[in-house]
Structure formats: C-alpha cells, structure tokens
C-alpha cells in the first residue's frame, strides 16, 4: 500500500509564542494547515479516516523548536517546493516549514530515528555568569548519573550516554548566559535540558532561572556514530 504513496519530509518549527502549544495542539495545527493548503494528502483507511502524517519527537509545552520534522504521505508526486510554498501560505509563520524533501518508504519513522536533540537553554538572573554556570554544570556531569523524580517515577540518566557532546556556556548579556546542550534519547527516556540546568543551578545555590529553551536541531545518529539531518 505504501508503495504507491509519496512520503514527503518537512522541516517545520514551533517558534515564538507558538512554543506554548502542546504536541497535540501542534500536530492539529499542522494538519489543519495542510488541509487549507489543499495538498494531496493520503487518508488512512478504517473506521475514522484521517490524514496520514507522522511527527518527530515531541517538544514540551513552552520549548521552542527551530527544526522539527514531519512526514506527510501524498497520493501523488508534487514538487517539494510547491508543497513548501502552499504550506507557507496556509500555516502561521511560527509553524511554517522551511525545507522539504522526499524520503524513502522504507526509512524508519522520525520518532524512532531522531534520537539527538541540540538545545540552547537561556539562563537569567542574579548571580548568573559564564564561569559560575559552567562550574555548576561540571559538578553535575562529574557525578556521572542524574536521578529525576517525575510524576512519582524515578528516572536515572547515565550522563555520559545522555550527553553525547560537552555542554558549552556562552555569556549573552548582563547576568545572562546561554547553555548549549546536546542530548541523546535512550531507553530511559529523554533528558530535559532545562531540568538539568535548573538542577545544576539549585545544587550550586546559584540564583537564576531558565527563561527560554530552544531545540535548534533534531538529528539522526548514524551507525558510524555521526549525526545527520533527516532531510
């Protein structure tokens, strides 16, 4: 059945004030935009037919995403640029796609393939400074594992596994830094970079708070251990 369908992969976003959408709201907004754009989307068979689309790893409410991926199946081939333009007209700017390309039918799903998230966490407040925040983060990483209680469940992250790259801290203004965090999702779930940074701050007694979290990129880890973009 999938053979006669065309799997178009889009790089969209959940930017600006629309970062406050939940994953469900974000996916509905995309689907409604796709219907407005009148692209020839496929419809699932069955009792309640709906648009055939699949989304990459979800972002929490409030976290911005600059490169979020969506696969949508089309009933016929349409040039990727044409779909891109139509969706650009039919979606709010904060969600609109910036890139599109066809993906092979056999490729694993976005949800399974995209295991790497590249984040920026902005921290502001009282004694926030580059060296202080760096030291606080080093202490946490030095501990090796990080245990999080969430909704009554305990998650334990092996930080060497969950953080495939070293974190970097940049000063971006008076009492303001940006922490670059790259995470790897594993069996134990995905580590929330803002929680990790907040944990480091409170552990070190630093007065400051996370004010904005942005996922800059969502990547696929290849068998060779390198990272690549899904399109």
């Amino acid at each position: 059945m999938a053979g006669d369908e065309f799997r178009l992969r889009l790089c969209c976003g959940k930017r600006g004030r629309l970062r406050f959408l939940s994953h469900l709201e974000y996916s509905h907004a995309f689907e409604r935009g796709a219907r407005r754009a009148a692209i020839p989307y496929s419809v699932t068979k069955g009792f309640s037919p709906h648009m055939k689309a699949a989304f990459g790893p979800a972002l929490p409410v409030g976290t911005q995403g600059l490169r979020e991926y969506i696969d949508v199946w089309l009933t016929r081939y349409v040039a990727a640029e044409t779909v891109l333009a139509a969706l650009g007209q039919a979606l709010p700017g904060d969600l609109a796609p910036t890139e599109a390309g066809y993906a092979a039918a056999k490729e694993p799903s976005l949800g399974a393939a995209c295991t790497i998230g590249v984040y920026e966490v902005r921290v502001e407040g009282g004694d926030v400074a580059q060296d202080i925040v760096s030291r606080a983060l080093d202490d946490v990483v030095g501990a090796g594992v990080w245990q999080v209680e969430h909704k009554g469940k305990t998650k334990v992250f092996d930080l060497a596994e969950s953080l495939p790259k070293e974190m970097d801290v940049r000063s971006t203004g008076e009492a303001e830094v940006v922490v670059g965090v790259t995470t790897r999702m594993g069996q134990g779930g995905s580590l929330r970079p803002d929680s990790l940074v907040s944990h480091a701050l409170s552990r070190a007694g630093v007065a400051g708070a996370v004010t904005l979290v942005t996922r800059l990129d969502t990547l696929i880890e290849t068998e060779e251990g390198t990272f690549r973009r899904p399109i």
Binding site: R17, L18, F20, L21, S22, L24, E25, H28, A29, E31, R32, G33, A34, R35, R36, A38, V43, S48, P49, H50, M51, V61, G62, A90, P92, D94, T211
Partner: protein
C-alpha cells in the same frame, strides 16, 4: 493603546494550557487602523467560549466596519487569574493584548445563568467597577446579549445596556450611536439615553423594576432573511482542543415545535430556514478556509429543515474521499427516518444518537407538548440500530407540571422498551455492546415560556422522585446519570428572579464563587450563604410561583410571543392538550409573525414533511 503581551508572556510558562492565551490563531483578525475598539467576551474559559456562534458572528461583522476592530476575550483560568493579579496585569484582549478597561465597548454574551459570577470576576480583573452606577465616561460601555438577557434583571445592575434578541444588524447601530456620542463628548447618562432609542436595546438604569406599565418596554430584534446574514465563513481556528471543534454552519433559526418548557423555542421565533444552496456553499467555504475535517449543521432542530436530505446528499457527494465528516447536533425521534439514518451514516458516523422524549408517559408528553409518541421513538431507535448505531442517549426531565409517580416510573418502562427494541434489531453477536444512556435533569421553569409562572419543585421532592426513578430503571445495559439538583436549583433562582438577585450574585462572587458551570468548582452552600447574607432565601426563590396578574420581573421584555398566548398554553398544558407546530400546520397565533407582531415571517426552503 499599547499591548501588554510582554507582561503576559512570562506568566505563561507556569500556567495550565497556555494555548488559551496565545492569540495568533488562524483567521484571527488584526486591524491596524482602529478608531473604535470592541472587546467581545464570552464569560467562561477559552475552550468553552470558542464554540460560541454569537461571538463568532459578531466578531466578523464588527471587524467588517471601517475604523472598528473587534477582539476576543475569555475568562482566564483560575491559575492564570492568580498570576495576573499578582503581576498586576489586567484582563486583556487576545488579538492585540490591549487592556479591556481601555476599549470603547465591552460586549458580553450571557449564555447560561451559571456564568454570572465569571462576568463579575472578569470586570474586576479588568479593573472596572462591577456595578454600572460606579462606572463613568472613562470606562467602556458594558453591553450584554445572548440567551439569558430575556430576563436581564438579576444581572441588570452590572450592565450599562442589553441587546435583546439577534445582534447581526443591531450591533452596528449601537457602535455607530456610541461613536457619535463619544465624538460629541456626551456624558454616560446622555450616551445611554441615546443608545436606548435603538430597537431592542434595554438600558436598565432607565427602568424601574416591577413597573411594567411605567417603565420602558423592549421588543427583541430579529433578522428577517437568514440567507442575507451569512454566518462566520472564516471563523478563528483554535490551537487547543475546544468543545465543538469543527466548522458550524447554521441551517435555520427558530423552532416552533412548541415544547412548553423550552425557552429557545419561544424566544427565537419565527422559523427561518437558509436555502440548501447557501448551506452547501457555506459548508464548503468554511472547510476551505479553516482546514477542519468536520462540519456540523447547527440549529435548534436541524432535522426539521425542509431541504436537509438534499443538503446531506450534496455534501456527501462533494466531500467523498476527503475524510471530512458531517454531523448533526442532535437527531430527533420523529424526523429521524430510515433515509436520514442512511445519509448521516454515509457522511461519517460521528453524530451520537440522542433522543429527548423528556417525559415517560404520553399523558405527560402532552402536558409539555412534546409531540413524540412511543412508536416514533421505538421506530427511530430500530432504524438507527439497524444502520449500525450501538448506543443511544435519552433525555428526561423530572418535576414537570402535573407529574405523578406513575409518570416517573414511566421513564424506567420506556427505557426498558428502547433497550429491547435496540437489541431486537442488533445481530446476536453484537448485542453485548448495546447501551442506553439515560440522562435526567430537573425542570428549570424559564421566563417567556408557558411554565414561567410555575416554581420549581422543592429540593426534597426532587430527591424523592429520583429515588422512585432509580427503582424503575432496568438494571443492565443502562447508564443512568443526573443533572445535579443543586445546579438546577440555582438555575431556577437565576432564571426567574428580579433585580434583587444581583445582590446575592455579587455576594456569592465576593465569597469566591467562579466558574460555577464547572461541576468540580460549584458549591451551592456558598450561594445559599451569600443569598441569605443579602436577606434572601434561595430555596424559596426557586420554588416561588407567580400569579397571572403579577407583573413578572421580565414583563417589560418581549420576544414577540404574546403573554396571553403563553398563559393559554399553560392552561392547555394543565388540561393535557397538545398544540401543533405552525411550520408543519396552520398558525397557532403566538403573535410573532406579520405586521401586528415583529414584522417578520416564517421562511421555509420547501415544504416540511415527516410529521
């Protein structure tokens, strides 16, 4: 006028469902050049208010006026209210995040009595005095509209004016009169006197309660041609899940079946159908510009539309293969033929099957003028279950005039028959999934209905009849649910009281009542205490009856249906005599149509059949 968005945004990280406050939804209107700003408020949370058609219609119409911008306002959820109060951020409009206290006109729809405390909460959060007599020229004009304004008295002290009836045409007149008053520098009382001259506008400060003869008399506004008043074609598409999350196309207005408990059926007369062509056109247009995958054909009685079959057939053809479904808000037993069942099933079987016999015996159905026989009901159930439905929901009411315990037990008997009929036509291997949901509420007598003179039955009596009903219900295959009797009691108080009730409402709000329509937040004890502190007994008020010669608190507001007609209907009810539907048979003389009435007439697209 500046946006407060920068002060709102930092609050959003820690509140539930921030999508309520984002604005920037698809089709939201942002006008730059604005000389006159209207805030349109629905007095409940975003996800409830976004389903409201009146707000959507007025939003589109007001924004079409040059120099005027209309923006939406909903009541922030309690967590956001707290954040806003501690950050000293006032209630703001969604589109441009301006403070509500800075707009020119605040229009509030009154959808339901239990939203009244939310109105006070919103006014207060906006930084406005809740009482109109405390407000002046520096404050927006606060105008109410919607279903509850047919008895505006309980909330009259909080409003500068009300618009009674349909707003499509009247809102532009109010706005233009207010703009002139502002340009002329008129005082608040002079402005109100001018606005009071507009047909359908009621200014409570110009009316002395209880003086039907000496005070003003206000007749509702009514639109004469529904095809000329197109609904909102491109309504705002919310991000968050809201109730009725779909395109809604109004197919007709008014219902003259004449159920004697039903306020909507009395106050929205006469029946005006939209033609099949405009309905089909608006459905397709609405789907195109919203991207929804569902459309609902709305009205008080969609299956009565004389061209409904044609509409459904055309839509089924046009929407084939798109995954878009068509739903009807409720399916009526008597008009729900086999053909209709097949068409709706073909267009996507999303509609739940709900039937409202309301009473358990034919005698009592005649009293309330619910012209549905047991055979109608059972054959509708059979045809639906033959077409694949496996669930049906039945609505009943307790506390109807002349009701006896036999009538109450009749509800259980009828339910048992429905269950049996449904099972009989269902293939044996699927019988296990057949369910009948039974929802029972207590009659809330409403203003402008034949039951307006009658009080609600006392609280203990409600409980006793509920026990009788529970005994009579089949044990298996039935899900029985109750509309909370405490809620019905308060509804009864607020629906038929006079201006004195405003003190009780304000006291309840000051004692913390808000979002009363949300079951988990409703507490009758707070209301009982508040009313008693204002010198009133809530139970006695719910139970109070009026005499024929009494001046009713809402006597100065007319829907066009003559009070004599309502009284005659009341007497026919007590005598158990039914009155036919004038859209199927001859005029029954309610007084709405023609030059002697409101100057409008019934509009049908074809002949109505199926009775």
């Amino acid at each position: 006028m500046s946006s407060v968005w920068e002060r709102v945004e930092p609050l959003l990280g820690t509140v539930e469902r921030p999508a309520r406050y984002l604005n920037s939804e698809w089709n939201a209107v942002h006008k730059d050049a604005t000389e006159y700003r209207v805030a349109l408020m629905y007095p409940d949370a975003y996800e409830i208010g976004m389903a409201n058609q009146a707000i959507a219609i007025l939003y589109e119409r007001l924004n079409a006026i040059p120099g005027v911008s209309a923006e939406r306002v909903f009541v922030p959820w309690v967590d956001m209210i707290e954040r806003m109060r501690s950050a000293a951020v006032g209630l703001f409009t969604l589109e441009s995040s301006v403070l509500v206290r800075d707009v020119d006109l605040l229009g509030i729809t009154l959808p339901y009595e239990l939203t009244y405390t939310n109105i006070l909460e919103a006014l207060d959060l906006a930084g406005l005095p809740v009482r109109a007599d405390q407000r002046d020229e520096t404050h927006p004009l606060v105008v109410g509209g919607g279903p509850c304004v047919f008895n505006p008295e309980p909330v009259a002290p909080f409003f500068d004016a009300f618009l009674i009836g349909e707003g499509e045409q009247a809102v532009a007149e109010i706005v233009s009169a207010h703009r002139e008053a502002l340009a002329g520098g008129l005082s608040r009382p002079d402005t109100l006197a001018r606005i009071a001259c507009i047909d359908g506008v009621y200014v409570p400060s110009l009316h002395e309660p209880g003086s039907a003869g000496r005070g003003v008399r206000v007749t509702k506004r009514v639109v004469d041609d529904m095809d000329a008043c197109r609904g909102p074609l491109c309504p705002v598409v919310p991000y968050m899940d809201v109730v009725h999350d779909r395109v809604a196309v109004e197919v007709l207005r008014g219902c003259t079946r004449g159920c004697r408990f039903c306020q909507a059926g009395m106050v929205y007369r006469p029946v005006r159908e939209r033609s099949a062509d405009t309905v089909v056109r608006d459905v397709l247009e609405g789907l195109r510009c919203t991207g929804y995958d569902e459309v609902s054909l709305t009205s008080l009685s969609t299956t009565d539309h004389s061209q409904l079959e044609e509409v459904l057939r055309r839509l089924t053809r046009r929407l084939e293969g798109t995954g878009v479904t068509v739903s009807l808000p409720s399916l009526r037993a008597d008009a729900f033929g086999v053909e209709m069942a097949r068409l709706v099933a073909g267009a996507g079987r999303k509609s739940g099957l709900t039937l409202a016999p309301e009473a358990g015996t034919q005698r009592l159905r005649d009293v309330i003028n619910k012209n549905v026989t047991e055979e109608d009901l059972l054959s509708a159930v059979e045809s639906a279950f033959r077409s694949g439905w496996r669930r049906v929901k039945l609505y009943f009411m307790l506390g109807l005039p002349t009701e006896t315990d036999d009538d109450v037990r009749g509800i259980g008997d009828l339910t048992a028959k429905v269950l049996r009929a449904a099972r009989d036509v269902t293939p044996a291997d699927q019988r296990g999934s057949v369910r009948v949901a039974v929802s029972v509420s207590t009659l809330v007598p409403k203003a402008h209905t034949p039951f307006q003179w009658q009080g609600q039955i006392p609280r203990e009596e409600i409980e006793r009849r509920q026990a009788v009903l529970r005994e009579s219900m089949p044990r298996k295959g039935v899900d029985l649910s109750w509309h909370d009797a405490d809620v019905s009691l308060l509804e009864a108080v607020l629906a038929r009281s006079g201006r004195e009730a405003a003190d009780g409402i304000e006291a309840a709000w000051r004692a913390g009542a808000r979002f009363d329509a949300w079951t988990e937040r409703f507490d009758l004890a707070v209301w009982r205490e508040a009313f008693s502190s204002a010198g009133m007994d809530i139970d006695a008020m719910a139970h109070r009856s009026y005499e024929r010669e009494d001046v009713l608190p809402w006597g100065h507001i007319t829907s066009g249906v003559a009070e004599d007609y309502l009284w005659a209907e009341y007497e026919r009810a007590l005598a158990g005599e039914a009155t036919p539907d004038c859209s199927f048979e001859a005029c029954t003389g309610c007084g709405v149509c023609g030059p002697a009435g409101l100057g409008v007439d019934m509009v049908l697209g074809g002949e109505r059949r199926g009775r």
